[in-house]
Amino acid sequence: MRRGETSTKSMAAGTAIQPMTAGAAKGIAAQDFSSVVETHRPQIFRFLLASLRDVDLAETLTQECFLKAHRNWSRFRGDSSPMTWLMRIAINLQKDHWRNRRLQFWRTTRANAVDIDEAGDWLPSGERTAEQQLLAREQVVQVWKAVDRLSERQRTVFLLRYVEERELSEIAQATGLSEGTVKAHLSRALGKVRAELRGKR
């Protein structure tokens, strides 16, 4: 078993907060928590929304994420950025959610999740022509389809890279995987997106 997988499994066992050793970020520790919430809430919500495609659930998990972060704020010593730390909490919460849902097998897993076609309707109008809008919508739906087929880990890595535009090192820190594993997951995820787009043509 590889190092990255071990660390991810231990992480999946609960929403354990990354223990922060003494660091140079005393300023961050002193930072007002409310400003952290204000700054990072939209990003955490966006990531959870893209992962779950459920607005209500994304809001609930975002709130839970900041609640956990607030409880453990005194333990945050700034070895990573607050965003990476928060993202790690969000990823663990999402994992816990899926695991609980899997146990409750009599419920439909995606009870309130938005349909892919509906999710593809969201496009900034910009200065595009109707034809360009239509093409963009088609592409977005294709990407959603590909994302839907990705494994949980691939999806997380893919969304962190192409929606949140995080660096590989940040993704590795947030997911607890090695950079090599992150690259491999990204490559497979991109391959599936490419195949989906190729299938459309």
Binding site: F45, L49, G120, P124, V140, V193, L197
Partner: protein
């Protein structure tokens, strides 16, 4: 640039464009969801669900209670019917026994009458023999008296 390289470059461009559109779409959706007015829909729905849950719970409790009461009443009624049936059967048996007893007595009386009648009545065919016996008995008694 050969044909396959050009195709690969076109494909990469398309993938990049698709990923960019995807990000823009998620951003737009997320912003819209975050800026949507917060209405107490969930609370109302939760309250409605709570009320429905309570109503359902009360209905189930009432149904089980009435079921238990009905069952108890039913068992009591069955016991009462069984007791009445047993009493009726007992009475019928007693009546039958007394009837049989009285019938037995009357049979015995009848048989006794028949016996006495038979013993008294002499069949016609035996009449001459009986007369002879009477005569012989009279003769025997006379001769006995004479010898004395």
């Amino acid at each position: 640039m050969n044909w396959s390289d050009r195709l690969g470059a076109e494909e990469d461009l398309e993938v990049r464009q698709a990923l960019s559109n995807f990000k823009a779409s998620v951003d737009a959706w997320s912003e819209a969801a975050l800026s949507r007015p917060r209405t107490p829909v969930r609370t109302v729905r939760g309250a409605w669900r709570l009320a429905a849950g309570w109503a359902l719970g009360c209905a189930v409790a009432a149904a089980s209670l009435s079921g238990a009461l009905y069952e108890r009443q039913h068992v009591r009624e069955m016991a009462r019917i069984a007791a009445a049936r047993a009493a009726a059967e007992k009475a019928a048996q007693e009546q039958l026994a007394s009837r049989q007893l009285s019938a037995g007595e009357s049979d015995q009386d009848l048989l006794a009458n028949v016996d006495s009648d038979i013993s008294r009545a002499v069949p016609a065919a035996m009449e001459p023999l009986a007369q002879m016996m009477d005569t012989a008995q009279a003769d025997y008694a006379g001769s006995k008296n004479e010898t004395k």
